[in-house]
Point group: C2
C-alpha cells in the first residue's frame, strides 16, 4: 500500500493547516504569525501519529491537555516549506481543505520572503488567513487584529 | 495519485463501521441486526462523498438532520461483503479502527451464514459488536439487548 496517498487521505479528514496570531511587542508589526500543520488523535491512535511523524521526518508529537488528544505538529517554517507543503503538492488534498492548504502555502511563502515583518505584508497575511476554514482556533477576531497592526503603524 | 489508498486514509479518520440493533418482533430473536459502513462530512465536502460513492459503486448519500452532515452509507449485506470489506482487506486501515473493521467483517460473515436468526448466533454477534469502539451510536446497553434475546428464548 502506498503510504503517501494514505497520508493525504488521513490528513484530508483529520489534519489541519492553521495560521494563528499572537500579540507580541517584539515584532515591528505588533503581531507574531505562527503557521502550523497539525494532526490530532485519541491516545489509542498514537501509533499512526508516530508513523506520520516518521514519514515527514520533522515536527513533534505532544499531548494536548485541553482536548485530551495527541497532536503531531509542525511549526518550523523551514520544515513546512521543505517537507509538508511539497507532500501536499505532490499528493493533493481532495476535500475543501485544499483551499486552506493553498492559503497556508501562500502565507508560508510570504513569510519565507520576510514580508510578514512589514505592515503591508502582515495585513495581506491576515486577509489570507481569515479566508481559511478553521477560524475557531484563532485567538482574535480579524478586525481586532487589523486594529492592532494599524495602531503599531502610527 | 492512487485513490484506493487515499480512501483507506480518509476512512481511517472519518469513516465508521457500525453494528446497530433494533427491537423487532418480526424476528425469532426479537432483534434486528443492522451493520453499516458510513462516512460523514459537512456539506462543503459533499464532492468527496460522491467520489467515494462512485468508487465503491454501492450505497447512497443522505443528509442527516440530526447532526447536519451528509452521510455516505452502505447497509446492504451483499454490498458490504462484496465491495466494502474486500477493499479494506486489500488496503488495510492503519489506526485502531482496524479492530472495529475486523469485528464488523466477522459479524457480516456470521450474518451471511444466517446465524443471526438463531439465539446462539445473535448472542455471539452482540458480544462481538460490543467489543467495537463506537458504542455511542448504539441504542441499547449490552445487558438490555441480551435480556431481550433471553426473553424471546423462553
Amino acid at each position: 500500500m502506498e503510504f503517501s496517498t494514505y497520508v493525504t487521505g488521513f490528513v484530508d479528514g483529520e489534519g489541519s493547516f492553521l495560521v494563528s496570531f499572537n500579540r507580541n511587542g517584539k515584532f515591528v508589526t505588533g503581531i507574531e504569525v505562527r503557521p502550523s500543520f497539525t494532526v490530532s488523535q485519541h491516545r489509542r491512535n498514537l501509533a499512526i501519529l508516530k508513523r506520520i511523524h516518521e514519514y515527514f521526518g520533522c515536527g513533534s508529537i505532544r499531548f494536548d491537555r485541553h482536548d485530551q488528544t495527541y497532536k503531531y505538529e509542525v511549526r518550523s517554517l523551514d520544515d513546512l516549506k521543505k517537507k509538508i507543503i511539497p507532500h501536499f503538492e505532490k499528493y493533493p488534498l481532495q476535500t475543501s481543505k485544499v483551499n486552506d492548504f493553498k492559503q497556508f502555502s501562500a502565507i508560508c511563502k510570504t513569510m519565507k520572503e520576510n514580508k510578514h515583518r512589514s505592515h503591508a505584508g502582515i495585513l495581506e497575511i491576515i486577509e489570507q488567513a481569515y479566508t481559511m476554514n478553521n477560524h475557531g482556533a484563532r485567538r482574535y477576531a480579524k478586525e481586532d487584529l487589523l486594529q492592532m497592526v494599524r495602531k503599531m503603524k502610527v
